[in-house]
């Protein structure tokens, strides 16, 4: 999108609702007579919410607008049937679905035909779209990973759902804990929670046995709170206090129970250290304080 803007196209970026889902009416209202493309993420990488791709796609068809979907986080987690799903372009990534890193794919619909401009130039491979020799081993790896994902998806999802519910049930009675993103319209493999008055990076430092992130991997080195959580309207404290937990194909019940115990223990420890928690306990409204930003 930024590249298109650089070329002179105008891009409208839409905020999502508090539950992380796109407001259909806001999207419809933002469409202009000269809108040529709508791009939506199928599943959000930080909070796991699933957008209504079929609904948005149908609207795009009606208006003759091309529809691009970033499905990097969706493959192997939600049903994707491009015979029926009204999507013109779909980005796919191998490594998010247990395939090798370094390869992805762009699905391009033939009818209605989407005309693309190549990003890579040279020998004209792949109908001129991607010049250069294909890495066969990666292509095969991605194909095989996607084949397995399709075979095992319902079983994977059922298992992940049970673990997701176990994790949420083990944490939901912690005081001042908030689920980020819609409660049910989400993939089971992601759980994003904010533990109010505990800073996310310090929590991650405490829960050493767990590989989790605060914010997305793309920005966790930048010290900025998650822009996704800010887009949901979360306060700065809550955005700084988030933990993104993911459940994989090989996660076990024992690991979930360990996660629950270690997170609870560290949240309690860090709250004992937290001046914000102390103020909250004393009934002080943190939003009413004049902070000196630094």
């Amino acid at each position: 999108m930024r590249e298109l803007e650089r070329q002179g196209f105008e891009v409208t970026y839409l905020d999502v609702q508090e539950d992380g889902l796109l407001d259909f009416d806001v999207l419809t209202a933002a469409i202009r007579p000269d809108t040529i493309l709508i791009s939506v993420m199928f599943v959000n990488n930080e909070i796991g919410v699933i957008q209504d791709i079929a609904g948005i796609g149908a609207m795009c068809r009606e208006k003759g607008i091309f529809f691009h979907v970033d499905a990097a986080q969706a493959t192997g987690k939600v049903e994707i049937d491009l015979k029926t799903l009204p999507v013109d372009l779909m980005s796919l990534a191998s490594h998010k679905t247990y395939g090798p890193k370094g390869i992805g794919a762009l699905y391009v619909r033939r009818k209605p035909r989407v005309r693309l401009e190549a990003q890579m130039h040279g020998g004209g491979h792949e109908r001129g779209m991607r010049s250069g020799t294909l890495p066969t081993h990666q292509c095969v790896g991605m194909g095989e990973a996607f084949r397995l994902a399709r075979l095992e998806m319902s079983q994977d999802n059922a298992k992940a759902r049970a673990l997701h519910d176990r994790l949420i049930n083990g944490l939901k009675d912690v005081e001042q804990v908030f689920l980020n993103g819609h409660a049910t319209q989400r993939v089971a493999q992601n759980l994003n929670m904010s533990f109010n008055f505990v800073e996310g990076e310090s929590l991650i430092m405490g829960i050493k046995g767990l590989a989790v992130s605060s914010g997305s991997a793309c920005t966790s080195a930048s010290l900025e709170p998650s822009y996704v959580l800010r887009a949901l309207g979360r306060s700065d404290e809550l955005a700084h206090s988030s933990l993104r937990m993911t459940i994989g194909r090989w996660t076990t019940e024992e690991e979930i129970d360990y996660a629950i115990a270690t997170i609870r223990q560290n949240v309690a420890k860090l709250r004992d250290l937290s001046p914000l928690w102390e103020m909250f306990q004393d009934g002080v409204d943190i939003a009413s304080i004049q902070w000196t930003a630094h």
Partner: protein, 128 residues
């Protein structure tokens, strides 16, 4: 983020965690930072009114491991110092002691600000 051993040690075993009564005449309180920035430090000193020496210190910090370690370290350092000696502590000393990486230097600056704020608060209480 790779943390130095000293940061980890302070994070695992923070010194002088807690709070003094803010209203106590012998206590100076400094609260610096902001939730929006991801760091809030509260540092308190207890001063002997006769000698003017800091006899005890407490902290509470909302922030990353380096912020917690910086404030924990400062509570150790200020004990036994006069108010002026404590206020003269430099963030570079804290950053050096904890081997903070460049991206975490602001944690040591915050700890320096916190001790200065606590000293100021105590002095304000005793100027009238």
């Amino acid at each position: 983020m790779a943390y130095s051993e000293k940061v980890v040690e302070h994070y695992e075993n923070p010194r002088n965690v807690g709070s003094f009564d803010k209203g106590d005449e012998s206590v100076g309180t400094g609260m610096v930072g902001a939730p929006a920035c991801g760091d809030v430090m509260k540092l308190q000193i207890k001063v002997n009114p006769v000698t003017g020496i800091i006899e005890d210190a407490r902290f509470k910090t909302y922030g990353c491991g380096s912020a917690i370690a910086s404030s924990s370290l400062v509570t150790e350092w200020v004990k036994g110092k006069t108010l002026d000696e404590a206020a003269a502590l430099k963030n570079s000393q804290i950053a050096e002691e904890l081997a903070l990486p460049p991206v975490k230097i602001h944690c040591s600056i915050l700890a320096e600000d916190a001790i200065k704020a606590a000293v100021d608060d105590y002095k304000k209480k005793h100027t009238h």
